[in-house]
C-alpha cells in the first residue's frame, strides 16, 4: 500500500506539492499511515504540548490534556486557548461577530452580491486567545448556533486506525 515521506505530507498540508503529485495521491487508495504522519506534523506546529487526537478545523484540535484533569479531551485552538470539552459546542466559548447590517455585509459582499439580513446572517467565530478567525457559518436569524461535528473518537481509533484510544478519566 502507498506510503509517503513526511516531507510530502508536509507539502500536501501547506498546498505546495506540485499538482501532478497531489493528483496522483488523490487517485490512490489512502496511505495506511497518513493520519499519524499528518498528526505529527500538526503537533510540531501548535503552541501546546497536549496530544492531538483529531483536527476538527484549520486551527482547531481535539486534544488529550497533559495538565489536570489529565487525559480530558478538550477542544483547543493552535495558540493553546481552550474551548472546553469536545462534546460541547466550542463555538459557544468563542468571540462571535454577527454580520446582520448592510454596512457590515457590504465589507464582504458589496453591492449586488449582498444578502437580505432579514433572511440570513453570517456568524464569525474568533479565538479569544489569538484573534484567529476559526469558523464562519451562515444561518437564518434566530437559528441556534450550529454544532458542526461530534466525532465518535473511540470508534474512529479502534475501527479505522486500528489502535485503542487511551481512556478519558471520569
Amino acid at each position: 500500500m502507498a506510503s509517503y515521506d513526511k516531507e510530502i505530507i508536509r507539502d500536501l498540508i501547506d498546498g505546495t506539492l506540485p499538482w501532478q503529485s497531489t493528483k496522483s495521491i488523490m487517485s490512490q487508495y489512502k496511505d495506511d499511515d497518513r493520519f499519524f504522519k499528518y498528526i505529527d506534523i500538526l503537533q510540531e506546529r501548535v503552541k501546546f504540548n497536549d496530544q492531538i487526537l483529531l483536527p476538527i478545523g484549520e486551527h482547531l484540535y481535539i486534544v488529550a490534556k497533559k495538565s489536570e484533569p489529565q487525559g480530558e479531551r478538550v477542544v483547543k485552538c493552535g495558540c493553546g486557548h481552550e474551548f472546553g470539552h469536545y462534546t460541547n459546542n466550542w463555538k459557544l466559548n468563542a468571540v462571535i461577530n454577527v454580520r446582520d447590517e448592510e454596512e457590515e455585509i457590504a465589507e464582504i459582499y458589496p453591492g449586488r452580491h449582498s444578502y437580505d439580513p432579514d433572511w440570513m446572517e453570517i456568524r464569525e467565530f474568533i479565538c479569544p486567545g489569538c484573534a484567529t478567525l476559526l469558523e464562519v457559518e451562515a444561518a437564518a436569524p434566530g437559528y441556534p448556533i450550529v454544532f458542526d461535528f461530534l466525532p465518535y473518537l473511540e470508534t474512529f481509533y479502534r475501527d479505522w486506525l486500528g489502535t485503542e484510544l487511551p481512556a478519558e478519566p471520569r
Binding site: M1, W19, K23, M26, S27, Y29, K30, D32, W160
Partner: protein, 723 residues
Amino acid sequence: MKKTTPLVLGIDAGGTMTDTILVDKQGNFAVGKAPTTPNYESEGFIESAQDATNIWNLDINKTFEELEVALYSGTGMLNTLLSRTGKRIGLIVTRGMEDAVLMGRGLQSWAGYSYEDRLHAVTHAHPDPLVPLSRVRGVTERIDHFGQVVIPAYEHEAVSGVKELLEQDIEGLCVCCMYSHVNPEHELQIGEAARRVFAEQDIDIPIYLSHHVRPIIREQSRLNSTLIEAYATSQGREQLLGVETAAKQHGFSNSMQTMLSYGGLADVRYPRLHETMISGPVGGLLGARHVGELVGADSVIVSDMGGTSFDIGAITRGKVPIEDEPTLARFKLNLPTLAMDTIGAGGGTIVKVDPYTHKVSLGPESAGSVPGPVAMDMGGTEPTIADCDAIMGRLNPDNFLGGKVQLNVDKAKQVLKEKVADPLGVDVYEAAEGMVNMLEMEAKSSIESIISSRGVDPGEYHLMAYGGSGPLHMAEYSRGLGFKGVLSFPFAAAFSAFGCTTADYLHRHSQSVHIMTGPDSSDKDREEARRQINEIWSELDSQARSELISEGHETDAIVCEPFAMMRYTGQLEDVEVAAPVTKLESDEDLDKLTQAFEDLYEQINRSVSGYGTAGFTIMELGLNARVEKVKPELSRRPLGSKNPDPEAAKGKRSMYYNRAWHEAQLWEMDMLKPGNVLEGPAIVEHPATTLVIPAGDRVRVDEWTILHYEHGEDTQNSVGNVL
C-alpha cells in the same frame, strides 16, 4: 545470410525505446530496437536502424541506398508540449475572447482521467495554458456566422497589441478570430498589420493564422491547434530534419516521411506538423485494413493490448471512421484522426486492493517499462497483470522478450500473495487468474461497447488481436462475442509499426461550410449549393496538388478524392461521404451525392431508417489527396500438414487455467507453417509475444501464416470466474 532487398523502413521513437521495422517486398521483416535519445533523436534512429539491418546481415549504407521509403515518427513535439518547453508565443484574438486560453473546454479538466477521477471533481484541473493571459491581446472586430463583417477590424488595436507583445520578446505570433473559417478577411488583415510592425522593427518571427492551420468550425479547438503548431513544432521539425540528414549521410536519397494522425505520410517539411502528434495507434488500423484487404476481410475490429493500454477501433467495409476533435495532452484539437478508443489495460497494469473494503481494481496506472512488473526484478513493487501471467505459467520465465529478461516468478508470487491474495483470503493462483480475468473482462466490455454504440453486427466482423499482450489474453476477451473470425499474427508485437509501413502519402484538406438541400429546395438553391461545393472542392484540389508536388511527387500520381461531411438536417453528427463524382456537373450529380450519403447512413445504422424528408446538411467539404506508395505483401504459401514440424515443439509446461493446472504443449511461433492446427491446452512462444490456447480451443495457421483462433463450442467461460 538472407538475400533480400529492403523496401520500407519504419521507425517509431517512443518515450523509452526507438523501434525499427524493416520490411522487404515479400513481407519479411526485421525488428530493431535501441534506446531513444531525446536530445539528438538521430542517434537513436541510426542505432535502431543498425540493429534491424544486423538481423539480416545487411550493410546499413547499402540498405539506406536501396530503401524506397523511410518513415519516422518521434515524440519530440509531444514532449515539448508535455514539459511546457515550447516557444514563447503571443496571441491576438477577437476582443472579448482573451480568456479563452484560460477557460478552455470543461472536458479538458478531466480528459484522460480514470472513471473514478472523472467522477470526483476535486481531481479536475485545467491544463496549464500554452500562452499566459499577459501575452494575449484583443482586437475589436466581428464577423458573423454567415461570414459578413459586423464590426470592421480595428487595425490600430492590432498594431498596438503586436507592439506590446513584441516588448515581451515573443518568438511567434498566433491570430485566431471568431468565424475566420467562414471569412478569413480579418485574420489576414491583422496578420498584415503585424507583418508591417515586424518590418518596422526589423523582427522576423513566424505568424500563425488559425484559418491556415485548419478552417474548421469550433473556436476553442481551432485556437488550440494553432497554439500547439506555434508552440511545439519548431523544435520537433529540427529533430526530424536531423534524422533526415543522418539518413542521407548513410546514402538515403529520398526525403524522410512522417506519419499524420489520419494515417497518411507527409514529408518532414510539411507545414502543419502538429498533425503528426497523434500517430500512436494509427499504424494498427492501417495494418489491419491492409491485411484485411489481402485476406478478404473488409470489416474488422482491431484490438491492441500493450503494456499500458488497450486500444480498440472498427473498420467498416474498408472505411475507418475519423474523429474530428481528438484530445492531445488534454487539449481538444481541431485535427482529423483515425478514431480509436482506449482504456488503461495492459500487461503492466497495476492490481490494487482497497485496504478497507477489499475492493479489487486494475490500473489505470501501469508499471511501464521502468520499473516494470515485479517479476522483472527491476524495482517494481506493485503486482501487475504480467506478474499474474508469469505466476500461472502462461509466460515463460526463461524466454521473456526472447530471453533478454529472466522473470523472477517467486518474487512475483510473494508480492501478489502479500498484497492481493492474503487480503482477499484466496489462493495465490486463484487470485492471479481472477486479476487476469478482470482485465480480460474490461477489455471485452470495451469491445462490446464499441459494438453496441456503433451499431456494429459482430457477425460481419473479424477481430484482429495484436500488441505484445494481445495474444496472451485474446482467448478470453474475444470469447462469446460472435465474430466471424478471430485473427492474430506471428508479428503481433510489431503490428503497429508494420501498419505504418503500409501507409500512402496522404494529405487531407477541408473547410467548414453550412450547405442545406432538401425536398423543398428550389432549382436555384440547388444550383447555388452545387456552385459552392464545386468551388470549394476545386480550391482544395489545387491547394492539395501544389503541396504534394512541392514534396516531390509527380502530378500524374496524385489522386484527389473529395468528400462531404453530411447529416440529415437537425442531426448532431456527420458521416464522411466519399463523393461519387469529383465535380457536381448537373442537378443529378447532387442527387448522387445525397444518395451516397443515404446508402452509407443505412450501412452504418442498419436498424435505423433514413429520414430524407428532413433534408440534408453538409457541414464540411474536403478532399484526401493521395499518392500510392509501395506496400509490403504477406507471403502466401500452400497449406501443408495439420501437424507442426517436430522442431516447432518445445516441450511442455504446467499452465493454470480455469482454476486447474494443465500440461500445455509449447510451440515456437516462428516455426509454424501454413496448415498447422494447434489444439489447446497449448502455449505458442515468440520473443516478443505469447499466445495462450486453453483446453478445448484451437488455432489454425492459414496460407498467409495468419493465426486463426477458434473457440471450442462448450468450453467453460473463464471470464465467468471473476472473483
